[in-house]
Symmetry: C2
Subunit: 205 residues, 2 copies
Amino acid sequence: MNPKLPMSLPLPSRPGCEVRGRCEALFVEAEPHPETRAVSEIALDLQGIPGTRHYGFTRKAGPREPWYKRGMEMRSGRQITIVSREELAAIAALMAIESIAPEWIGANIVVSGIPHFTLLPPGSRIVFPEATIVVEAANAPCRITGKAIARHLTPDAEPGGIDLAFPASAKGLRGVVASVERAGTIRAGEAITVKVPPQILWQAD
Amino acid sequence: MNPKLPMSLPLPSRPGCEVRGRCEALFVEAEPHPETRAVSEIALDLQGIPGTRHYGFTRKAGPREPWYKRGMEMRSGRQITIVSREELAAIAALMAIESIAPEWIGANIVVSGIPHFTLLPPGSRIVFPEATIVVEAANAPCRITGKAIARHLTPDAEPGGIDLAFPASAKGLRGVVASVERAGTIRAGEAITVKVPPQILWQAD
């Protein structure tokens, strides 16, 4: 094989594949931030969920992007927040609490049946019957979300308990942020297909 | 280690890293499609290169997305086309031709110094002094581009030569399509840094 062809590089790779799962539940923004409330369907357009804080092709840079000036307008990549039912249960088990409600932590969509959901590579497509969503990145668990969980479970506790346990336990399990590729209405209970693109583990040499 | 933690999964992975390279040349749309012409700088905004065919947060679905209705408005992901000087030379060697000019094949940016450029994982950031571009996907080499190369090298030949050799030889070497994350002016000759995110080779089991 020609040594210039990337196929002959000694880089671990996998072909693309499809996995079937289910949209368990849907949520839209509620008070206080970052909480959401359950709805039976959401009409997605290409900017996300109309009328919500994360709607838009762009957003302002914040503490997640310390390399940009705070408030600078940037490409969003965070229109939609998706979590996995199985991974929420795994985080709760690691935190030794009974459960974490998706609406406590800002989730818009809960899926089930997708193994290692948070580890899906960016560019994976989550295909609903009428809409398609593109995975942008794993969502980094933060202390604000930890505080939101603590508010429900230990409202009288001093900081330093559940608020800190969440970011420590949820790494690699907190779901993904995503953008809408095809607009349309998504409904709780719908079957979904995740299209994982071909993957190559890039390295410099 | 807790078996529920993804870190204990037997999935090949790599930490994030940074690689330094150079922006060799810049190009904007020209006639006939898909050709481009050299410029010394481009003022990128969050929709891409103002005034060009690929400008916009959205685009119409085409033959690259046969699963969508032709003409459906969809998320773009193809604002900017980037190729690597070293990979263009590798394609030319495989095709047994002297060289491929980036302006024949629709490139907006030519970079150098980034190994396996086309294989960069989606979500890699290409950081210029004033702007940042996000890699969306490897660009699939197509016969339209092959025809554009043939028009320059073998204008009198029947179809079935260079036009077909290009998509066969350029797989994994044809560069990437990308979106603008941070607006700003990019200039030929600038140093760039590619920030490759942590990678995990996802699999279902």
